[in-house]
Each structure stands twice: as C-alpha cells, then as structure tokens.
C-alpha cells in the first residue's frame, strides 16, 4: 500500500526525472575549459544546456502538480541530500573524457528509451516534455556513441582507459531501471512508464555499440543503488550540493 496521494506521487515523479537531468547536466558543465578540443567543449556544453533545460521543465511541472506555489528553483535548490532522487550514475565525478562519454552514453540510451515511452503517458504535460527531451537525448546518444567508437577502436591507450570506464560504470546501470515508489504507483493510470521493461532494449543497443567499438561487454548483474530512493547517495553528492546550493544557502530568500 502506498502512502502517497496521487498528487504527491506525480510531484515526486516529475522531481526525480528533473533531478537526473540536472545532475547529469551539472557534471557535463564541469567540462568548461577542460575538454580535449574546442569542438568537444562546445558540444558538451550543448548537451549540458539540454539537460538543465529538461530539468527546468520537469521541476516547474512538479511545482504545478504539487500546487503549493513552489518554483523550479525552490525544488531544485532547497532540499536536503536524502530528498534528491537521481540515480547514482548522474552524480558520479566527471572523470576523464572516456569516463564522461561512457557515463553519458549509458544514461542517454536509458533516457532515450524512457522518454520515448513517456511520450505515451496519459499525463499530457509529461508527454509533451518527454517529446521535446527525446529529441535532445537522441542526439546525445549519437554524439557519445560516436565518441565511444573512436575511443574503443582508437589506440591501445584509449581502449584500455575506456574499457575500464565501461566496466566500472556498468555497476551503476541497474539502478536506472529500478522503479521508484512514485513510478510504481503512477503506473496503474498510465502516467508513468514501466522502466524495468526497458532493460532488454538497453542491453541490446549498448551491447551492439560496445562490440562495434571493439570493447568487451560486461556481464555483471549487480548494481549500486540508493540514489533513486535518496537513502544512500555517493560521497560525491554532498560536494555537488555544496556548490549548487551555495548562494541559496549563504543568502537565503533572495531574488537572483
């Protein structure tokens, strides 16, 4: 039995989607003046802008669904660590270029499948935001996928580095497909989507690309979790929040 009202569930659902986009975007935005070329830097900032833009739409909708007058920023900024519900993969450090590419690729393939399913949501607003987000993440899949090919099938060093990222990040994939309480509750009215059912398609797409990139496909099934429930984020997360919330914490209640 769920303890959430429908309204609360919808708010929580929109918020968890927004959290994932926000922190993926946050980590990507850290590449400013650190990327291998100007072109890659600009491309990554583009992706970051897409992701943060998505989070804004979902936060705004979360606020509307809740009906208590909270703005996108109230929700995005003014919560404690355990109230953020992004999967752990989105808060992992940016690592080297290969790590970022693999992380974004894993996430983007998930996001593509997810948003595609969400366009069929009975909630028209969620479906509309999903439609727009789908176009963006489809591009992210292409961009990061192309880089994955170059890195996997590039030099010995790039293969070695990238394989390591492929393996390490694999252990964070499973959490993306675990249904949250809100997701489960909203499923009966076709508001949310059954993300657990998307794993097969994810495996198929990712495995094909990793093989094309001449990389080994990990076989593990164990996964880290705790982000989507908020019960156990990584040690990295509070540092993100320290930066993210710094001005809001230091000068509370201001207009910016």
């Amino acid at each position: 039995m769920s303890s959430m009202t429908q309204k609360e569930a919808l708010t929580a659902y929109a918020t968890q989607i927004a959290d994932s986009s926000l922190f993926m975007g946050h980590r990507m935005s850290e590449w400013v003046f650190k990327a291998p070329t100007l072109e890659t830097e600009i491309a990554l900032m583009n992706c970051a802008l897409d992701l943060i833009g998505q989070s804004r739409s979902f936060y705004t909708y979360a606020g509307e669904a809740e009906g208590k007058g909270r703005s996108e920023d109230d929700i995005a900024y003014l919560r404690g660590q355990t109230e953020y519900r992004n999967p752990l993969i989105s808060e992992l450090p940016r690592g080297d270029w290969g790590y970022t590419i693999v992380k974004s690729y894993y996430y983007s393939v998930f996001a593509k499948l997810f948003f595609k399913a969400l366009t069929l949501s009975s909630d028209k607003q969620l479906a509309a935001i999903a439609e727009r987000s789908l176009k963006e993440v489809t591009y992210h899949v292409r961009y990061t996928g192309e880089w994955l090919l170059r890195l996997g099938d590039g030099t010995q060093e790039s293969k070695k580095r990238t394989q390591k990222s492929v393996d390490e990040l694999w252990d964070y994939v499973g959490e993306m497909f675990i249904m949250s309480e809100a997701e489960t509750q909203l499923l009966q009215d076709n508001i949310s989507t059954d993300i657990a059912a998307l794993r097969g398609a994810w495996d198929q797409e990712v495995e094909a690309l990793l093989q094309q990139a001449t990389l080994d496909v990990p076989t593990g099934t164990w996964t880290h979790e705790g982000g989507k429930t908020g019960k156990m984020h990584t040690e990295h997360f509070e540092y993100i929040l320290a930066e993210h919330q710094y001005l809001q914490n230091r000068y509370s209640g201001c207009e910016w």
């Binding site: 936060y59 290969g98 030099t155």
Partner: protein
C-alpha cells in the same frame, strides 16, 4: 577538426623591395583609403598580415581564456535560469573563439599554431581575464563592463579593413550585446535585492572598474602599433577615444544601478562634453601584461592542462579516423 595543416598563404608573391611590390602596396593602400575590404586572397603587405594575425589570435585567445572566470561559476549559479544563461554565454564565447580563429586561418596561420603560442606564453590575451571572478555579482559585472568594453572595441572593429575580421565582428557584436544586457539585468536584480546583494554588487564593480578601463590598452601616446594600424584601418578609433566612449556610457548606467564608480576624479566636463576621469594605474597594467596579474599563470596552466589531458583523446580520434579511412579505401 584538429587543426588544419593544409592552410597555405595566397599565391601572389612579389620580391621584397622590388618595384612590383611597391606598386602592389600602393594599390593596397588605395583600396583601404577607398574603404574597400581586403579579402583573404588579395595581396597584402607582410606586416599587415602579421599585425592581423597577432590581433585576431589575441582576440580569439581572449574569448577562450575568458571562459575560465565565468566557467567556474556555472555550477554555483543561484537559479536554473541564471545557470542556463551563463552556460550559454560561455558556450557563445567558445564559438566566438572558433570563429575568429577561422578568420585568422585565412591569413595562413593554423589554429594549432596560434594555440601553441598561447600555451607557450608567446601570445597574449586581454589582461582583464587575469583578474579573478570572486563573487556571483562578477557574472553581471563581467557582462556589463567587460563585455561592454569589448563591444565598444568591436563596434569599431566591425569597420576594419580586413573582410573576414570585419564580418566576424558584426556577428559577434550582436551576441555580445545580448550578453551585456543579460549581465546588466543580473546587476539590476542585485541592486533591488537585500543590502548584502547590493554590497556584493558594489564590491564587484569597485574591483573590476579599473581593469575594464585598461582593456582599451595603453594611452595613445604609448601605443606602439596604433599609427600604422590606423593607416591600415585595422584600427578605426584610438585607445583613448574608445575608453572615453566607454566611460561616458557607463556613468549613467552605474547611476541607474545605484552604485558609485571607484574614481573620485570622475566628473562631467561641460567644455569637453565628456566625463573626466582619473589616471589609470599604468604600473599595474604593465605588470599584468608582463605576467604578474592575480591569475596569469593559472589561466595558461588551465589551457595547457586541458590540452595535455586531452592528448590521448585526440590521438585516439585520429587513429580511428585513419583506420576507417583505410577501410573505406580498401572497400
């Protein structure tokens, strides 16, 4: 994608000091006097080419290095709207850099060569970026004053004699004006906020006002390249003229924000029809140019670090491209 090595200088070559060269030079200057743009394949004196490459690469480097002080604030932006605006601005700067590098490449110097010069310290960039961005208000002040000063310069440069540079400036000025308005709007928000926000705004302007005035370069009497650049119409207005325009425009804007500019000598001169202002600390100006600014070393080290950290990535991309080009050839 990773620096075009196929760039070549235009073909027309006349022997240095020959009568043909004198004739070419006369025609060149006649074109400039008639306000006809010089294009990449036109004959031009080597010194003109060199001056332009120096100036354009400095300009492009300024865009690239200028991403650093603002880039550090993206993850700390206090609202998602401001975060997106800031990130888009920094991205635009990267785009401007690429665009100006391309313009400079038409003169026969590759982007990689120019970037090498930046990394070795041979090439300069605007010294304003050797000052740190210490508060959120700086994100507004940089837009208002630093972009404002840049626009003052660039509006003049949009009329410069070299076609590719002039056209780049027209496009870039539009985006810069947008950035400047966004920066000023950020400051307006602070100016209407709490006392702490107002203090943050004033402190930021106090710190960045003088370095912004230094962006126009040495005063006209001490500007080594100016006379020739004016004759070639690479430069259309003198440093001091542009600086005066900037000061005149800024005073009213500062008043609107309810702040003071940190210059006790700043006052309207009825006779000149301009604001008088105090003497710039030229010792500081030359010190920062020489490398002794608060962030010189850090800025260049960051550029070097990004390049070095990315070496394996660029090598991998090249190896991949070669492998697949070979496969296509074989197919």
């Amino acid at each position: 994608m990773y620096g075009d090595t196929s760039i070549q200088k235009p073909m027309k070559i006349a022997k240095s000091g020959s009568p043909e060269e004198a004739e070419l030079e006369r025609n060149f200057q006649a074109k400039i006097d008639a306000d006809i743009k010089i294009e990449a394949n036109d004959w031009m004196p080597e010194a003109y080419r060199k001056t332009l490459v120096r100036q354009m690469s400095q300009h492009a480097h300024s865009e690239i290095v200028g991403m650093q002080p603002e880039g550090t604030w993206v993850t700390r932006a206090p609202s998602l709207r401001r975060k997106v605006i800031l990130l888009a601005k920094v991205q635009d700067e990267g785009g401007h850099g690429m665009y100006i590098y391309s313009g400079a490449e038409t003169l026969g110097t590759s982007r990689e060569t120019m970037l090498d010069d930046l990394r070795t310290g041979k090439a300069k960039y605007s010294s304003i970026f050797n000052y740190p961005a210490l508060s959120w208000a700086d994100m507004g002040t940089i837009g208002w004053l630093v972009d404002g000063a840049a626009i003052t310069n660039q509006v003049a440069l949009a009329r410069c004699s070299y076609g590719p540079y002039s056209r780049a400036m027209v496009r870039i000025c539009k985006e810069e004006s947008f950035h400047q308005r966004q920066g000023y709007e950020l400051l307006i928000t602070l100016s209407k906020g709490t006392q702490e926000q107002k203090d943050m705004l004033q402190e930021s302007v106090n710190r960045l006002w003088w370095p912004s005035l230094m962006m126009f370069g040495p005063c006209d009497d001490d500007s080594p390249h100016s006379a020739q650049s004016m004759k070639w119409k690479i430069k259309r207005k003198s440093n001091d003229t542009l600086r005066q325009e900037f000061v005149d425009a800024s005073v009213g804007q500062a008043k609107f924000l309810g702040i003071t500019l940190p210059d006790p000598d700043l006052k309207w001169n009825e006779k000149r029809g301009h604001y008088d202002f105090g003497e710039i600390d030229w010792a500081e100006f030359y010190d920062v140019i020489k490398g002794n600014g608060p962030c010189n070393r850090e800025r260049v080290n960051n550029v070097i670090k990004a390049h070095e950290d990315g070496a394996w990535v660029r090598t991998a991309a090249e190896a991949y491209a070669e492998k697949h080009a070979a496969k296509e050839d074989a197919a």
